[in-house]
């Protein structure tokens, strides 16, 4: 039985790969044969921005329906299906966004207009966002430095607030989910009320999961075959408890609202991930839900205030925010050659407070001409605890002013341009660490990081255009400069980083990252057939990266030192998507994405580059003509990831893999209540594969196996 099953799935792979090119041709020949009214189901307003800024840029927007239907382990895992988006993962609960091969501080995540700040410089630090609390996400790819300032070279992920509830209403939503692979169960409750346009939205979310399963009972590390008991990666369990309150008032003059949220996560690290994995550590303790050491505990608290005031010929937007990110990474002192200490097992604690203020004025000068004036400010204070040293305490201030103009030459032609001036200041004191002799006795202090007092200024600019031709075609182009100030880790890190288990060392002489970005987009959209191709090329005159050095760490049990260095780098690539609606019942979407990059210093690729990948997705809505089953969807998604042989030094090559996911969803109405049901199987064939974007890749650990997920959403 299982042999037949395996054979079937193997064949499915070929069937899919054949469908892909054939379908492209069939689409081209069938253009415009029948006219249908296109219902926007998943991807809403693909080319329009909520911000109404930068309409010449490349946008993707998705709503909460889409996020529920294709829910991954995290928000970013859900979004990575979209062209040009990928993620860097640590197990099943920690992930961070990658846009066009750019990651870490090169991707900005804005929630409610405020940039999320949570030590995003490290590949093992996840994004602290409650995925149930996201109603609408928009991803902007391309040069955005003018609008968003430092960082965001790859792009911006904007998370928008829930829609304001209807006037004089009270309702809510209860969502519950289950995932078989790591026995995850979760629930989220949302209540919202609006009385006389004074509104409040409250949400509480809870998730708890065990160690995840992989389709393997062993892995190979450093020539040794190590066991994986019961197919579970020991100590990869976790839990999340989040809450948020949003309250505001809507009036003729505009609106104002306050958002308070708290995200709390505890996530275990695979026991073999800190240091060299050994067989006896991996023995099953019979407690797959236990979060043992090593682990990380994250708490992200924020208060955001958004105000919009309508004035004659325009409106003001005032966004203020305070965030407190607490990151605690626990591991045994022994694994780092440190004896008993006052911090116990707290290896690294980082407390980052961020104050943000963004003020924008949109000035509609005429029907065809609009200016946006903006001023932005951010101040950060970081303190550290724990028995390890990685980065020092620091203060950082940044500010910028910009003018962005949009001019409609005619109904088919829009041009935009912007200029921005930024300034920043960083300050950190010298840091000393106690030094121990061979017998682990204290023998004095040694300086581990330099004093920093750095100032940066930058001038950035961009020009873009959007041109509509032959009614359904659109051509967008953008050229801009890229800018990012170095993060403290790049300047002053010095120590074994628990999450990556590498000795990482900063360089205080590094300068700001700069470059030029070119972004093009050709779009064709009709009700029947959508097609887009979006090539890009980024040339960095200064790009900061972590490079393996020729020297070893003087710390016990640690390998070579990784140094932050700067180089010239080139990135190019493209995404392309074709979506064809055969009829009312069948829609097929095919996409391809590719990133190529090179470090000009050593002619090697840069690490964590996503491989070439294809996606084909068939959506069946067979009961579209029946009233009760109108929302019934069956989706079959196939993804092919080519081998990643373009790797950096000491980064292993990763073979290709093929994944199939399937999902069924439907809405039921019982009386006045609506229940939506989502059933999804990810990695349907339980394929064993390695992902070069995973932290566990260096341990040769396979990725998550088959995962059966059920989500029930009850609206009342």
């Amino acid at each position: 039985m299982s042999i037949i099953g395996n054979q079937f799935f193997k064949n499915l792979k070929y069937i899919y790969l054949f469908i892909f090119p054939l379908q492209l041709f069939s689409q081209i020949t069938k253009i415009d044969s029948v006219k249908h009214v296109l219902k926007e189901i998943e991807i809403v307003a693909p080319n329009k921005s909520e911000d109404d800024i930068g309409n010449t840029l490349n946008f993707i927007a998705v709503n909460s329906d889409y996020l529920t239907k294709f829910q991954g382990n995290t928000l970013i895992n859900t979004l990575e299906k979209l062209p040009g988006i990928s993620s860097i993962n640590v197990g099943a609960g920690i992930s961070k966004p990658v846009i066009r091969g750019l990651s870490l501080n090169r991707v900005i995540v804005n929630e409610y207009g405020i940039k999320q700040e949570g030590q995003q410089w490290a590949s093992d630090h996840g994004l602290e966002i409650d995925q149930f609390n996201v109603d609408k996400v928009e991803i902007v790819k391309g040069p955005v430095s003018v609008i968003y300032g430092s960082d965001g070279l790859g792009g911006v992920i904007n998370i928008y607030p829930a829609y304001i509830p209807k006037t004089d209403s009270f309702n809510g939503e209860f969502v519950t989910n289950y995932k078989s692979n790591n026995d995850l169960y979760g629930a989220s409750l949302k209540l919202q009320a609006n009385k006389n346009d004074v509104f409040t939205i409250v949400r509480f979310t809870f998730q708890d999961y065990g160690s995840y399963r992989v389709p393997a009972d062993n892995f190979t590390y450093n020539g040794y075959v190590l066991p994986i008991y019961n197919n579970r990666l020991k100590n990869t369990a976790g839990k999340e408890i989040n809450y948020s309150i949003l309250t505001g008032v809507k009036r003729k003059w505009g609106f104002t609202r306050v958002y308070i949220s708290n995200y709390n996560q505890q996530a275990g690290f695979f026991v073999g991930a800190i240091g060299v994995p050994r067989a006896y550590q991996l023995k099953d303790d019979g407690k797959p839900r236990k979060i043992d050491i090593p682990n990380q505990r994250i708490n992200h608290f924020k208060i955001i205030s958004n105000t919009m005031i309508n004035v004659k010929k325009g409106y003001f937007e005032i966004d203020l925010g305070y965030q407190f990110n607490q990151r605690n990474e626990f591991s045994f002192p022994h694994a780092h050659g440190v004896g008993n200490n006052i911090f116990g097992n707290l290896a690294l604690g980082l407390n980052l407070q961020t104050y943000t203020a963004n003020i924008k004025f949109t000035h509609q000068i005429s029907n065809t001409f609009k200016n946006i004036y903006g001023i932005a400010f951010q101040h950060q204070i970081n303190t550290k605890t724990g028995h390890e040293f990685l980065i020092p305490d620091y203060n950082q201030s940044q500010g910028g002013v910009f003018i962005f103009s949009e001019y409609k030459v005619n109904t088919n032609f829009l041009i935009s341009s912007g200029i921005r001036v930024d300034a920043a200041h960083q300050k950190a004191n010298k840091y000393f660490m106690p030094k121990y002799n061979n017998a682990l006795q204290y023998i004095g202090d040694v300086q581990v990081s330099p004093e920093l007092n750095n100032r940066y200024t930058n001038f950035s600019g961009s020009i873009g255009s959007a041109y509509t031709f032959l009614h359904k075609w659109k051509l967008k182009s953008n050229i801009g400069t890229a800018y990012r100030i170095p993060v403290i880790a790049e300047l002053a890190a010095n120590g074994v980083h628990h999450g990556t288990f590498r000795h990482e060392k900063g360089d205080s002489s590094l300068t700001a990252e700069r470059g030029y970005m070119l972004d093009l987009g050709l779009y064709r959209s009709t009700e029947k057939f959508n097609f887009e191709v979006t090539p890009f090329a980024n040339y960095f005159t200064n790009y900061i990266y972590l490079s393996p050095s020729a020297k070893f760490s003087p710390l016990p049990d640690a390998g070579q030192i990784y140094l932050y260095k700067e180089t010239k780098a080139l990135f190019w690539g493209f995404e392309s998507t074709a979506k064809y609606r055969f009829n009312n019942f069948i829609t097929n979407e095919t996409s391809i994405e590719y990133v190529w990059n090179v470090n000009r210093k050593d002619s090697l690729p840069l690490p964590f580059t996503p491989p070439l990948s294809f996606l084909n997705e068939i959506v069946l809505t067979p009961f579209n003509n029946k009233k009760k089953m109108k929302q019934f969807h069956f989706t079959l998604t196939a993804q092919y990831f080519a081998a990643q042989n373009r790797v950096d030094r000491n980064e292993p090559k990763t073979p290709d893999y093929f994944l199939i996911h399937a999902s069924i969803s439907n809405d039921f109405t019982i009386g006045k209540q609506k229940i939506s049901f989502h059933f999804q199987v990810r990695n349907l064939t339980n394929t064993r594969y390695l992902n070069n974007m995973s932290r566990y890749r260096i341990l040769n650990l396979p990725e998550q196996g088959r995962n059966i997920q059920v989500i029930l959403k009850y609206k009342f």
């Binding site: 090119p21 041709f25 020949t29 450093n222 020539g223 240091g275 060299v276 050994r278 067989a279 006896y280 550590q281 023995k283 303790d285 019979g286 407690k287 045994f332 002192p333 022994h334 694994a335 050659g337 004896g339 008993n340 116990g344 097992n345 061979n438 017998a439 682990l440 490079s547 393996p548 050095s549 020729a550 020297k551 070893f552 003087p554 016990p556 049990d557 390998g559 070579q560 210093k601 050593d602 002619s603 090697l604 030094r649 000491n650």
Partner: protein
């Protein structure tokens, strides 16, 4: 029909392009010179010879085939060859104890053997005999020995690792524990009651700076560490042992195992197991 022909032409052209690209990339790979900045070939560590044979032994509950058994006060001689197409840079020798199987953070108050050595090397083929002197007063127990190698470009060799079982030459005799209560190795107790262990710990040479540990494993196989007490540095040959533990009301019923470990100055270990059935 015409369209079909066009498609097949396109496909043929694509195949040709892919083949050319594949050819281009495969050619590019071979032309990388040694010491060129984009050369990523890893150096290699080979163990040429050593004065102690490798054996297979069970350590920390798993079998290892890379075990070296050595006495303190002797020396470990290992001849290593380092080879690379690129110029070599540095090797690292790391010896640290694995007394607790890297599972918890407590460090013994004993005298562990410890080596941390960084050595710069030159050339592309380098052979060295590393002589590691093991101090005669080093603690008995399990250790890890790792050799690592880098070339000038930062390419890292696959590390070579050994498990070392160290035997203290002055004292390889385990300490002893004679229990007066309980008198039997298999007892029963109700939850909420006090469990008392009394007895005498002795050693042939010295308990100075040693320790004892008490832990128990319940019938669900969960291990609880109850106590770790260090002996004074002038403890001498005996220690009067007295330990009380109240079985909690939430304890899992059924057969459990109490384990008492005694460590002498040289870190030799005696282990006593008592079956306790919790009712």
């Amino acid at each position: 029909m015409i369209k079909v022909i066009k498609q097949s032409k396109i496909i043929k052209r694509e195949i040709l392009i892919i083949a050319l690209l594949a050819f281009f990339f495969s050619c590019k790979k071979e032309s990388i010179e040694p010491d060129a900045k984009n050369n990523t070939e890893k150096p290699l560590i080979t163990v040429v010879s050593k004065n102690i044979p490798t054996i297979t032994e069970n350590l920390c509950g798993s079998s290892f085939n890379n075990v070296l058994k050595v006495n303190t006060g002797t020396e470990l001689q290992i001849q290593l060859n380092f080879k690379s197409v690129n110029t070599l840079s540095q090797y690292k020798i790391d010896v640290h104890n694995n007394f607790d199987c890297h599972s918890h953070g407590k460090i013994a108050a004993s005298n562990p053997w410890y080596v941390l050595k960084l050595v710069d090397v030159v050339g592309k083929n380098y052979t060295v005999t590393e002589i590691l002197d093991i101090p005669s007063n080093s603690s008995s127990g399990n250790y890890h020995l790792t050799f690592r190698l880098l070339d000038e470009l930062g390419n890292e060799a696959q590390p070579v690792e050994f498990n070392i079982v160290l035997i203290n030459s002055n004292d390889s005799i385990n300490p002893q524990l004679i229990l007066t209560t309980p008198t039997n190795d298999s007892i029963g107790i109700d939850r909420g009651n006090n469990l008392n262990f009394t007895g005498i710990m002795t050693d042939n040479l010295s308990l100075n700076g040693g320790k004892y540990q008490v832990s128990y494993k319940d019938s669900a196989n969960t291990q609880f560490d109850l106590e770790e007490t260090f002996f004074s540095v002038t403890q001498g040959l005996t220690y009067n042992f007295n330990f009380n533990y109240t079985i909690p009301n939430f304890a899992v019923k059924g057969p459990s195992l109490f384990i008492i470990k005694v460590f002498d100055e040289a870190n030799n270990v005696y282990e006593k197991k008592i079956k306790v059935t919790i009712n």
